[in-house]
Every structure is written in C-alpha cells, then in structure tokens.
C-alpha cells in the first residue's frame, strides 16, 4: 500500500532534508516567484544549490532568524513565494512572535521549512534537538503543519506547500532514514495515508516514527495482534475523518512522534478523539525532558522513540479496550 518494496531489508536511506533540497531546485526551475531565504546555514539546509543557480531569488540574512521571517513576509508582500529555511531550533524556535504576527496573523504566503528537527540531530546535544516545534506551530491560526516520513514525502510536502496559499510549516531532519514511499505514492496535505490495514489497534505516526510504527506492526503480527498503521504527516489540518474511521474499527490508539508528548501529533489525536470518539490511547514521544549528545539510534532508544516502545504501548492499550 503506497510503500516501497523491501523497506525492512535494504532500504534506500536519505535524510528528509534532502527532500527540501530537491524541492527547492525543482521550484527554482518551475516557478520564478519562489524565493529562498536563508539564515547562515545554506549548506546544512541544502539551500546552497538553489543559491548558486538562482542568486537573484536567494536572500542571505546572516545569523538573524527574526529578520529571515520579516524579510520573507515582505517578499510575500512583493508577490514572491518565499521559503524560509533554518534548523528547527531557530525556525520556529527563535522567531515565534515574528511568525505569529507577520506570517500567521497577516496570513502571508510564506513557507517555513525547518531541518535538523528532533532528537536524531544527535551529537550536537539538547540545544539543537528541537522537540517542541509542532506544538508551537499547531496552535497558530492560519498555519498548516506537515511532518513528512521520508525524503520523497518531504519533497512532495514542500512542493504542495508552495502550491497552497498562505503559511505552512514543514519539518525535516538531518539523520538518514529509510525511504518508505515511492515517487508514485499519493500525497496530499491534510490527508493521512493508510500504510497498513489492521483491526486490533491504530498506530498513528509521522516523521521518522512511521518506519518504527511499521516495524512495530510487523512484530505485533508475530504476536497475533493486527495493527493498522496511519502515516499522519499533516498534524494540521488533521485528517479527522480517516482517524475516526480507523479508530472506530480498532478501538485503541497509539501515537508516535519524534517530539514532546505535549502538544504534538499525539495531543492533536487525543483532542480529536476526546470530543468525537473517546478511545484508549497511549502517546509515544519524548516525555517532558530535554535530550543530550549521542548517536541518533542510541538517543531514540534512551528516549523511547523505537518500535519496541510502540509494541509495548500497543500491548498495554489493547488491555484497556
């Protein structure tokens, strides 16, 4: 179902930020209105190639993320479609108020795309491991929030955000992760994708946790539990219909995200279900703590962002049915 072959054996591995880089180059060619605004990290965000090819549509503000947002807002007033890019700790972390007033309240056509999100940024440590960005962006009126599961989906997400009108936040990471989807896999912002059908529990994941969810489902199958896996790349607007339909069938939910449990995908799902279809749920995510330096896989293990944790949560949640 919309998935690449052999994702468990020998998957192609790419960081989701590469999807941003590819999208920017495609947009460079296809849409002269697209600008890229960078705050001193063009090599890391993959904006450097766009800068080389399209210098008249590239803006380098230096290490000044607030001004990146402000100038992007101004470029949008001038008819451009700016993509602002930086590490997630700085974008949106550094510039919340600027995003709130100049982008979201003003409802301007600016696309915010972060890289280096989440704990898998690894050795740089907690200062650089942004785990709160989805919460911050999700509460802003007019803002859409997308967390792609692989590089191909990240590319599609950036292209779709540029196609759409108004503010979008797309979150990508630095760690190389399996490419799960194909160029042909359908993608639409606001529409969750069913990656595995099942009847006993619904696992709703986004970002790099989609692969962990699929691994968990495979393990659960061995244990006689039939899990449904939904790739919920768009946290806002949430695909309420797909989630409610699945949960009505399974009667139990586990959410999984590389983010704080507070305010992210799991919280969005809990808010929805508490009003529309109260259902036992366990959230897999970082539990109200900062990260630390270390290799990405070890950090995922230590902070509970693994298929193992999802399996454990599923076994627990189905007991509450």
């Amino acid at each position: 179902m919309n998935l690449a072959d052999k994702i468990f054996e020998n998957p192609d591995r790419q960081a989701t930020r590469e999807g941003l880089g590819n999208a920017m180059l495609k947009l460079g060619q296809s849409n002269p209105k697209v600008w890229v605004v960078s705050a001193g990290l063009a090599d890391s965000t993959r904006a450097d190639k766009f800068a080389e090819k399209y210098p008249d549509r590239f803006v380098e503000v230096g290490i000044a993320e607030q001004n990146m947002i402000g100038m992007a807002a101004g470029a949008a007033l001038g008819g451009k479609i700016p993509i602002a890019t930086s590490f997630a700790v700085f974008l949106p972390g550094r510039c919340y108020d600027h995003i709130r007033q100049s982008i979201a309240y003003s409802n301007l056509n600016v696309k915010l795309v972060s890289t280096h999100a989440g704990i898998t940024v690894g050795a740089d440590g907690a200062t650089h491991q942004m785990l709160e960005d989805v919460s911050m962006m999700r509460v802003l009126p007019n803002m859409r929030v997308v967390v792609p599961c692989d590089a191909l989906e990240a590319e599609k997400a950036v292209l779709a955000a540029v196609e759409g009108q108004g503010p979008y936040y797309v979150r990508t990471g630095r760690e190389k992760v399996p490419v799960l989807t194909t160029a042909e896999s359908p993608f639409e912002i606001g529409k969750a994708e069913l990656f595995r059908e099942g009847k006993d529990v619904t696992i709703i994941a986004n970002g790099i946790m989609v692969f962990e969810a699929l691994k968990a489902a495979r393990e659960l199958e061995k244990q006689g539990i039939d899990a449904e896996v939904i790739n919920c790349h768009t946290v806002k607007p949430l695909d309420e219909k797909a989630i409610v339909a699945s949960v009505k069938k399974t009667g139990a939910v586990v959410t999984a995200e590389e983010h704080q449990k507070a305010g992210g995908l799991g919280a969005a799902v809990a808010e929805l279900l508490s009003e529309k279809l109260p259902t036992p749920q366990i959230r897999v995510g970082v539990d109200d703590t900062f990260g630390e330096s270390g290799p990405a896989p070890a950090l995922m293990e230590k902070y509970g962002l693994t298929s193992k944790e999802i399996v454990k949560s599923v076994r627990e949640v189905i007991k509450k049915k």
Binding site: Q66, N67, G70, G74, L77, G78, H98, S106, L108
Partner: protein, 269 residues
C-alpha cells in the same frame, strides 16, 4: 501641497485623533499627535499612492503600529475611509483594530503591534521591488523606543547589504516611551551614527516643520542607499499641557481632557 494647506489638514487630523481616542476609551494618544505633521506631509504631499490599490505604486509599512490613530485619521482626511468610521476604533467588529490588522483592514499591508517587525517586512518588500526593477519606493514608519528591538538592527544590516535605495524609513524621535524617556530606559545616542554605521543615508529633520519634512523625504528619494529620516518630534504636539510627557504614550483622553485639547487645537498660534 503648500504648507498652509498642510497645517489645516494636520490640525483636522489631530482633532480626529482626539475624538476617536476619547470615544475608544483607550489607545496611544501622545505618539499619534506627535506624528500628525509627518503623516500629513507623507500622505498629502510625498507618497505616490491611490486608494484603490495601495500596493500598486509606493508602499507604506507600519512598524510602530500603536500610533495607528494618526494613520486612520489621515486616511479619513484623504477621504479614503469615512470619518464616521474613525469612531469605531477599537470596538468589536471594527476594521480599525487597536493595532493595524491586515486581516481586517485592506489599507494595512501587514499587521503591526508587536514592535520590531513591520520594518523587517519593509526591507524584504524593498528587496523584492528592487529585483523587479520597480520605480516605486517603500516608506516604513518606526518609533524611537522600537529601536531597542534587536531585530530592527538585523534588518538594518540587511538593507545596507542589499543597497536598498528604494527604502525610506522614518523614525518618530520623541525621546519618550511607555515607562519613561528613552534616555532613562535605553539611551539611543549616537542615533544618527548608528544608522550611518549600518550603511544608511541619514537625514535629521524637524518633524513639525512642513518644509523640513518635505525636504527630508525629497532627499531620501534620491539615494542609492537606504535612507532613514530621524524626525525630531514632541509627543502630544498641539496640546500644550500634554507635550513631551511620556504619560501620554498609551492613554486616551477623558471627555473633559478632550474638550480642552480640541480648544487648544483651535486656538490661533
């Protein structure tokens, strides 16, 4: 427009400011009165803008949005909005929000209330217009207290880098802010030197002398670098007892104070 006509307009704008703020029961009186002469000159003499589409030619971006009463009143004096609408300021359902809202008011290019933001957008807009080879200018309104915001200097640096000769920022240098004088809270001097160091063309002018205001804008329009006009003004200008008092930053007049102010504005000088 000649200076006598401008003076008449400015007086009407000040009266509107008093009336609308008194009706609203809250708002920023001192800065609005203080910038009336500059806004009158900008909108009746300098800026090339039509009411139908304010994005078609020269552009106006608010950064110190809290003094929006002077702008609303100026637009009403131009006949771009109705004078009666001024009396809806800050009321439920009004287009005239307490701080300018792009969502509600088509003349507002960007929402501005949180300081240190609109100016950044003006820089981005000026860069877009420069790259599009637009012959028009971007005018950005700033307050001196607002210059405490670090983001202003991020954008000032970028405007210098991109040589935005189409950008004209003007600052209300009244030396007052909400909780005290700028000298008490965060001294700004040498202010002209700061902007010059950021590669701007700096002009200092008397913000209550129409000839000086016109001359400053004329000079700014001819630069290859971004220009900033530092307008020396008096907060509360036009109402003698209120002038240069920071207490008038963020409060509106009572009915009684309004009566006094309107009388003072009518007095021959």
């Amino acid at each position: 427009m000649d200076n006598t006509q401008l003076a008449v307009k400015a007086r009407e704008i000040r009266k509107s400011i008093i009336r609308m703020l008194t009706r609203a029961g809250s708002g920023h009186t001192g800065g609005s009165l203080g910038m009336a002469d500059v806004f009158t000159t900008l909108f009746f003499d300098t800026i090339n803008m039509d009411s139908g589409d304010v994005t078609a030619k020269d552009r106006f971006i608010f950064s110190n949005g809290h003094i929006c009463p002077v702008w609303y009143a100026t637009l009403a004096e131009k006949g771009w909005i109705k004078k009666e609408e001024l009396m809806t300021l800050r009321q439920l359902g009004s287009r005239l929000q307490g701080h300018p809202s792009r969502h509600d008011f088509p003349f507002a290019e960007i929402s501005a209330g949180s300081l240190g933001q609109g100016f950044l957008a003006a820089v981005g807009l000026a860069l877009a217009m420069k790259r599009d080879k637009s012959p028009y200018k971007v005018y950005a309104s700033l307050g001196d207290g607002e210059l405490d915001e670090g983001s202003i200097w991020e954008a000032a640096m970028a405007a210098g880098k991109y040589q935005l000769g189409n950008l004209i920022a003007f600052v209300d240098v009244n030396r007052q802010q909400q909780a005290g004088t700028t000298d008490q809270l965060m001294p700004l001097e040498p202010l002209a030197g700061k902007w010059a160091a950021f590669n701007w063309h700096v002009i200092e002018a008397d913000g209550h002398d129409f000839s000086d205001i016109k001359k400053a804008f004329r000079e700014a329009k001819q630069q290859k670098k971004p220009s900033v006009v530092l307008f020396k003004t008096h907060m509360g200008k036009g109402v003698p007892d209120w002038e240069d008092k920071y207490a008038w930053h963020g409060v509106s007049p009572t009915e009684q104070q309004a009566e006094y102010a309107l009388k003072a504005l009518e007095a021959p000088r």
